[in-house]
């Protein structure tokens, strides 16, 4: 790991956002991960996305489980709320936090071990409940902290460092997310910030469960020939379905595209997702077609990336449960304990 602190000196012409912050104001501590880890690039993309969205750092909560990926919230957004939970249990903690205070932006950061092995059940349930969050899986296909055994997302037939092939079928998290009814499903690659940053921004502006599977090569244990999660493999087999531009309130939307090449989606908060279609005529609003597309292209050995599915008019857990809008901590005793008469009225309604 790096022994020195990152110098506070910054480029004098570094842009500032609407809050007067530079991108560097969204950084955290210096990473202790291996040099070149894909996870650090994802942290960089999260920093960039939050900067571009003018997000006040104290309005964001970052939650994680256990693993290399789950260490990363320390390395970005040093002025945000954070919770490093039990292995695989980040989704429950996030769900609880979200129920208690819906005013924050919730960012769950997890890995393939944390989400596809020990936490697979939690992963599935928080998506189907529509918890309003961004759930990023930093997916490298191996257990990096324990020296590189295949994880549950490693592709069948992928080779480990000594040449041994993975005999088991892979858990494909985006397919699972589609099946679980996630309303925003994307896949990206740590080595492609141009694609990743807009996806994170769009996910943060999405109301509902937004899931991003981000392939993140493990430079120590899974970046060799025969790996399907290496820099080279992902770059060679990357099949991007679209390219995303995100327009938030203060951006001017420019339109100079040919008919039929662009799909525009307006999210509940007014942000506009403009999807430039690449190659095949791909419709990101149709989850059934998306699932079929994912399956067929993955069978052909391609890594499908981009915004796979989005449902513009999504609803979240709070809407379904008709919860109170104010954060629970802002409620006073009178609101929390409406008294015997109110209880009697509820009981009467149930009789």
């Amino acid at each position: 790991m790096t022994h020195i602190a990152k110098p506070r000196f910054r480029h004098p012409k570094l842009p500032v956002n609407a809050l007067g912050f530079t991108r560097r104001d969204y950084e955290g501590a210096v990473s202790t991960l291996c040099a070149g880890c894909g996870h650090d690039s994802i942290s960089g993309a999260i920093i960039q996305a939050c900067f571009e969205l003018d997000l006040p750092p104290h309005r964001l909560a970052k939650l994680s489980g256990i693993g290399c990926s789950s260490k990363t919230p320390t390395y970005f957004l040093g002025n945000s709320h954070g919770f490093n939970s039990v292995h695989g249990r980040m989704p429950s903690v996030l769900t609880g936090a979200n129920l208690a205070n819906r005013d924050l932006v919730y960012l769950g950061v997890s890995g393939d071990g944390d989400s596809a092995s020990i936490g697979l059940g939690q992963f599935a349930h928080c998506l189907r409940r529509g918890v309003d969050m961004v759930y990023i899986v930093e997916n490298n296909g191996v257990y990096g902290l324990t020296k590189g055994q295949f994880s549950a997302t490693a592709d069948q037939g992928a080779k480990d460092r000594r040449g041994g092939a993975n005999p088991d079928a892979a858990v494909d998290l985006p397919s699972l997310a589609l099946l679980m009814g996630a309303t925003f499903v994307a896949r990206s690659f740590s080595g492609d910030k141009a694609q990743l940053v807009p996806l994170i921004k769009a996910a943060m502006r999405h109301r509902g469960a937004a899931f991003i599977d981000c392939i993140s090569p493990c430079v120590a244990f899974n970046n060799h020939a025969g790996s399907t999660k290496s820099f080279d493999f992902v770059r060679e087999h990357n099949e991007a379905v679209n390219f995303l531009d995100v327009f938030t309130g203060r951006d001017e939307i420019t339109a100079d595209y040919e008919e039929g090449t662009v799909q525009e989606i307006v999210q509940h908060d007014g942000s506009v997702l403009r999807l430039k279609k690449l190659g095949a005529d791909y419709d990101a609003t149709d989850p059934v077609a998306a699932l079929a597309y994912l399956q067929s292209h993955q069978t052909a050995g391609e890594v499908v990336t981009g915004l796979i599915h989005v449902k513009a008019a999504a609803e979240d857990l709070h809407a379904r449960m008709e919860t109170v809008e104010a954060p629970l901590s802002s409620l006073d005793e009178a609101e929390l304990c409406p008294g015997a008469d109110a209880l009697a009225a509820i009981n009467a309604a149930l009789r």
Partner: protein
């Protein structure tokens, strides 16, 4: 790295070393061109003598003061003198000044090396027992001639130093006030040169004829006579009030040699250069109670270095600008003051500035004495014009800017005598080049074939994340050199004002140096484009992007690269078809890119460039 066929004239220019022009995009930077990394070391590049500044600053940090002194001595000959008086072109160039408010106090750290060194005489070269039989005359014993002597004496040359004064040093001794430079420092550093051996000093002997000197049978002559004539101001009253109007550099010399120790209570100093600053501060110490500096130009355009102006103002000396002297007023043969016309700058269509009268009433400033410090001129009355040594239209000798040879083979010029008034560090640089020429000339070789510098580029990697240099970045502001109490300094012309850094302050100041000589070296073939360097770089100087023409490329980097003086370090095409572009402008040389690089594509390598000196030429060539 790929090589490109580039027409000779389009290849690496001196402004942009290592850059070739090829097609619509940028060609990979050729870091084998020593000038490329040399230019990244802004201080060394700006220093006329190309002193390896970061190298000696690191040595000071390690308390290796003697080693730091020797590094300086090799390059600039007068570390103790320059550490107090240098015009320090390195400091405005210092990268630190582009990252925060103030550059590293490079000049004053040089003095630290001189102040705290041990006895270094045993480490200095000595003349060989048997001289090589060549005799060289050095006319004028200033910094240029002394540098020539220093470089040639160890090779066995017999050097004869002529000077009209009783002691050597030239303007160092005669023009720089003692409160800035104690005489003991001059004696010490001249002593190191004399100590080499083979140097005869014929001081007190002014050379009156070059023809006569050449007749003495010298193998070569070096002229380092400086710019000895102070410019006069011929306005009404000059002759009548002559007793109280003094030429600045002559007056300073008279003070330095003890001929003058008083001045009137009200003094006006005319001129805005460093000599004017020395004059006013000296006058302040010799009885001047109301000393005023009056300058024709504006404050910003004054030739004096900013710190010299500050030092003068700190001593209660006001500086008045945009005033042109019109006449000296006098009464019964005694100066009563100076009449000034008020002027203002006016710019013509070409942006050239002219000072035009404002039409306001003239200003009369009463005074007892005037010091005229409005410039210096060369004077060569002792050089005959019929000996084959050509002069140009400004009556300056025609001198080759590289070899320093005049049109008379075997006669060389350096310092202010060569190309007009500059400063000590330029004189030293000239002396080095002239010494190389004289050595080649005496050996019968082509003096236009200049020896290349010695260049060394070596990795500083010591461990996984360990470097042999201190890569943590200090966020300290520039430290102020402690001053002696003004109650003492203003009453004693020889009490040195600056006390110099103590060891602790010096250490803290060294930590501000960014180690720009420890270069970020990129190897295309090792890069896997993981972005780790981009993410960690504290100043956003690394970008991976498509190639393009330079000016267009500069606009789409992660942070704008809008300082065209500073180069872009460009890689060859990488696997994804992109290139790596690094803007050298404000790189902190913290090494984090190399620490976070998983493949060693980035490495921190120390670039050491030692200029060729006559002394270092291999013996086998002789």
């Amino acid at each position: 790295m790929a090589t490109f066929d580039v027409p000779e004239d389009e290849a690496a220019s001196s402004d942009h070393p290592g850059r070739a022009i090829s097609g619509p995009g940028m060609a990979p930077t050729d870091v084998r061109d020593p000038n490329y990394f040399h230019k990244v070391v802004d201080c060394q590049w700006a220093c006329p003598a190309h002193t390896p500044v970061p190298e000696y600053i690191r040595l000071i940090a390690q308390e290796r003061y003697s080693d730091a002194y020797i590094v300086n001595w090799r390059s600039n000959v007068f570390p103790g003198i320059l550490g107090r008086t240098c015009d320090r072109p390195c400091e405005p160039a210092c990268r630190r000044g582009r990252v925060e408010a103030e550059p590293v106090a490079i000049c004053r750290l040089k003095r630290v090396a001189a102040d705290y060194k041990d006895d270094i005489e045993g480490r200095l070269p000595r003349a060989p027992e048997a001289p090589n039989g060549k005799r060289i005359a050095l006319v004028g014993a200033g910094p240029a001639s002394l540098t020539v002597a220093r470089d040639l004496a160890p090779l066995g040359y017999e050097l004869v130093l002529f000077d009209g004064e009783a002691k050597g040093g030239g303007m160092i001794r005669s023009q720089i006030p003692r409160f800035r430079l104690p005489e003991s420092v001059i004696d010490e550093e001249l002593g190191y040169i004399y100590g080499i051996g083979g140097i005869e000093t014929r001081y007190g002997e002014r050379v009156e004829s070059l023809k006569g000197l050449l007749a003495e049978g010298f193998d070569a002559v070096f002229v380092g006579t400086g710019a000895p004539r102070g410019r006069d101001l011929d306005v009404p009253g000059r002759r009548e009030a002559a007793d109280n109007i003094h030429i600045g550099i002559d007056w300073l010399a008279n003070v330095a040699f003890g001929h003058v120790d008083r001045i009137g209570e009200r003094v006006i100093v005319l001129g805005g250069g460093n000599t004017a600053m020395d004059c006013c501060r000296t006058a302040r110490r010799l009885g001047g109670k109301e000393v005023h500096v009056v300058v024709r130009s504006g404050f910003e355009e004054m030739k004096a270095s900013p710190w010299e102006k500050e030092d003068a103002m700190h001593e209660g000396i006001p500086i008045h600008n945009f005033l042109t002297p019109k006449a000296f007023t006098h009464e019964a043969g005694r100066l009563t003051g100076v009449l000034f016309e008020k002027v203002a700058p006016q710019f013509d269509d070409n942006g050239r500035r002219r000072l035009v009268p404002t039409g306001e009433p003239d200003l009369h400033m009463p005074c007892d004495d005037v010091l005229v410090a409005i410039g210096q001129e060369n004077a060569f009355p002792w050089i005959e014009r019929d000996i084959g040594l050509d002069f140009d239209e400004w009556d300056m000798p025609k001198v080759d800017s590289t070899t320093h040879q005049s049109t008379l083979p075997g006669v060389f010029f350096g310092g202010d005598a060569a190309f007009g008034p500059k400063n000590i560090i330029w004189a030293v640089a000239h002396g080095h080049e002239a010494a190389i020429s004289i050595d080649l000339h005496c050996r019968g070789e082509d003096i236009s074939q200049r020896p290349p510098p010695l260049v060394n580029l070596a990795s500083q990697k010591m461990g996984l994340h360990e470097w042999s240099y201190d890569n943590a970045i200090s966020e300290d502001q520039r430290y102020q050199v402690p001053w002696r109490d003004q109650a003492i300094t203003l009453n004693d012309v020889s009490a040195e004002v600056e006390l110099g850094f103590d060891r602790d302050l010096a250490f803290r100041e060294t930590q501000r140096c960014l180690n720009c000589d420890v270069q970020t070296v990129f190897t295309d073939s090792l890069c896997i484009e993981c972005d780790a360097c981009v993410d960690i770089c504290p100043v956003d100087c690394i970008t991976f992007t498509g190639n393009g023409p330079e000016m267009e490329l500069r606009q789409r980097l992660n942070a704008p690269a809008d300082n065209p003086e500073q180069d872009l370090y460009v890689s060859g095409e990488l696997k994804t078809g992109r290139i790596m572009v690094k803007d050298e402008d404000i790189c902190l040389h913290c090494g984090l890119c190399a620490e976070r690089c998983p493949t060693g594509a980035w490495d921190m390598q120390k670039f050491l460039l030692d200029m060729a000196h006559a002394t270092d030429q291999p013996a086998c060539r002789r």
